[in-house]
């Protein structure tokens, strides 16, 4: 990653993370949560949300803090910390908005950082229900799946 990740707080079970997105104009509290799919325990969902000062969660917020690359570098770091504790699980990541704006943004950032990210994790793009492939730029993915890259 070209941008340095933010430092984060992590829970002992490596499922919950919090960090601050910092710019000259504001500080946005963010959280990342991993949670098992009840019907498919090989998979964990990864959620990235904003947390306001009252502790209220907003997974549709557009914080516009001009640091998306740094936020996603932090997400990747959290992902690797998760895999440190759960190396045999798969992580599913989908944008929150129904319009697909976020997933397109994530796709662009992943494509830009693909070589670095791929050193650490296998990245798959999901095209439709049950259908996925190795991540390729400019494909109309609806979600991403991450798997810890095995050391040779």
């Amino acid at each position: 990653m070209t941008e340095p990740p933010y430092p984060f707080l992590v829970s002992n079970n490596a499922l919950d993370y919090s960090f601050e997105s910092v710019s000259d104009s504001k500080i946005v509290n963010k959280a990342i949560a991993f949670q098992m799919f009840p019907g498919n325990p090989i998979f964990y969902n990864m959620a990235l949300v904003d947390v306001d000062d009252t502790g209220k969660i907003n997974d549709l917020a557009i914080s516009n803090n001009q640091d998306m690359a740094r936020v996603l570098a932090t997400v990747l770091n959290a992902l690797l910390t998760f895999f440190g504790k759960y190396p045999n699980k798969l992580v599913h990541f989908k944008g929150s908005d129904e319009e697909g704006f976020r997933i397109r943004l994530y796709r662009i950032v992943i494509a830009r950082e693909l070589s670095k990210a791929n050193e650490l994790s296998e990245i798959y793009g999901q095209l439709s229900t049950g259908s996925y492939e190795y991540f390729q730029p400019n494909r109309p993915y609806i979600a991403f799946i991450f798997q810890l890259r095995q050391k040779p």
């Binding site: 430092p7 498919n40 998979f43 910390t81 929150s96 798959y124 979600a143």
Partner: protein, 61 residues
Amino acid sequence: MTSIITQKSKKRLTGAKDKIVSSPKGQYESIQAASAAKIARSAHLLENIDLTLFKQNGHIE
């Protein structure tokens, strides 16, 4: 339950170089609830998913 992050620890968090500063005792019930809602919306995407490619790339369980 919400963990207390003091101004001092906030400053340390923002300026820290290490990725893990400390282990909070827990503030995450509402975050996990939001995550559960996302899972409910996404679960159908993983129905009948073929695990072959994942298994080729590592052990999963």
